[in-house]
């Protein structure tokens, strides 16, 4: 049986851990609110831009634009958006596991190269057999739209020069606080929108149809990548918030269990002492 001193020490250390997890939860909550606001504010863009893309493709009669055409997937590029820091529950482990099985399946039929964002992803994939094209880690949460644009233009170049036939992005989509959803999204080529019938008269184009489409589609891809990235950031903070909350709760439970045990032992020792005194008194009295 553990001694009283041992138990007191354990309770003290669990309390210290709880302090830390509580503090981390507060930090994660603040960050989560910020990134949630960003995701919310950028929602209008994501709701409206696919509509515009659909319209543009319909009116431009550009179903055979290179960025819309599906090729045979001989070489593919996988983009994994993970996080730099841990302590966010199963956020990274689930993502990496799922992405690994996805790439292994793709490997059967095509060459897979990877581009990884986030230290956790980099550490994981360095031990795997896939060639890494580019890796980005350290302070990825500070990456701006311009930084991501560089990445998407790099991917676009690979695609246009026929070095890759498709680009897939795997990331945690921010659905709700409780459940991030791991999503595999094809980035390039764009999914040609279903044949919709747009009403109205044929629109004008400025400067011209082909110039408009050539500048519109790459930009659409840039913004998509940025969108995936900001979803992943929000999901990461939410996951960390939940993980820290659970940790605080577990510490609480552990403390109450340990306190109960401590009290039991204390009581037992008091009872034992009392018994000893009583026996002594009895022995003295009976003389």
């Amino acid at each position: 049986m553990a001694s009283l001193i041992d138990l007191r020490r354990r309770i003290k250390s669990v309390q210290n851990i709880q302090e830390i997890t509580k503090a981390m939860k507060t930090v994660a909550t603040a960050r989560f609110k910020k990134s949630q606001r960003q995701v919310m504010e950028s929602r209008p863009f994501w709701h409206n831009s696919p509509g515009l893309a659909e319209k543009v493709v319909f009116w431009a009669q550009m179903q055979h634009h290179p960025l819309l055409e599906k090729r045979k997937e001989n070489k593919i590029e996988g983009v994994v958006i993970s996080s730099d820091k841990g302590l966010c529950g199963s956020f990274n482990s689930n993502l990496l596991e799922k992405s690994l099985s996805f790439f292994q399946e793709k490997k059967q039929s095509s060459d897979v190269n990877l581009l990884i964002l986030g230290r956790k992803g980099v550490n994981f994939y360095q031990k795997q057999s896939f060639p890494l094209d580019r890796v980005y880690y350290d302070r990825i949460e500070k990456m701006t739209f311009q930084d991501l644009k560089q990445i998407s233009r790099y991917l676009l170049d690979l695609y246009i020069q026929h070095k890759r036939d498709a680009v897939y992005v795997i990331y945690n989509e921010f659905k709700s606080i409780l459940s991030p959803k791991i999503t595999v999204a094809p980035l390039i080529p764009l999914n040609p929108p279903e044949k919709t019938n747009q009403k109205g008269v044929y629109p004008d184009w400025d400067p011209s149809v082909s110039l408009f489409v050539d500048s519109f589609l790459p930009q659409y891809i840039d913004t998509q990548l940025y969108h995936f990235f900001s979803e992943s950031l929000a999901a990461e903070q939410a996951a960390r918030m939940m993980a820290m909350e659970n940790a605080s709760k577990n510490a609480e439970d552990l403390i109450s269990d340990l306190t109960l045990e401590l009290n039991k032992i204390r009581q037992a020792s008091i009872t034992k002492e009392l018994l000893e005194i009583m026996t002594a008194v009895e022995a003295l009295g009976s003389k």
Binding site: Q38, E41, P44, F145, Y202, P203, W205, D206, F212, Q219
Partner: protein, 92 residues
């Protein structure tokens, strides 16, 4: 055309960061790569690739300006939707 022309346009300026403007306006001026493009209510459908410059619009007498860098606009008789990559608030 005997249809009555609408007297205002719904202007939306949307950036990847946020919805910048969502208002009924009388007139919009968009920066074209090499000129300025004025849009009044009842414009025929048009897709424009924007250049660097100033996007401005008028509500009654009030005029607002934003500087934008590229982007695309979808113009219809009663609406203008501007998707721009980077817009900084000139007044703020």
């Amino acid at each position: 055309m005997s249809e009555k022309l609408p007297d205002s346009i719904r202007l939306k300026v949307i950036t990847p960061r946020k919805l910048l403007v969502d208002e009924e306006v009388k007139e919009v001026t968009l920066p074209d790569p090499d000129r300025c493009l004025g849009i009044l209510p009842g414009h025929r459908p048009l897709f424009v690739a924007l250049g660097k410059g100033t996007l401005s619009y008028r509500i009654q007498r009030k005029k607002e300006k934003y500087s934008v860098r590229g982007g695309h606009a979808d113009i219809g008789p009663q609406k203008v939707e501007v998707f721009t990559e980077l817009a900084e608030d000139e007044t703020g």
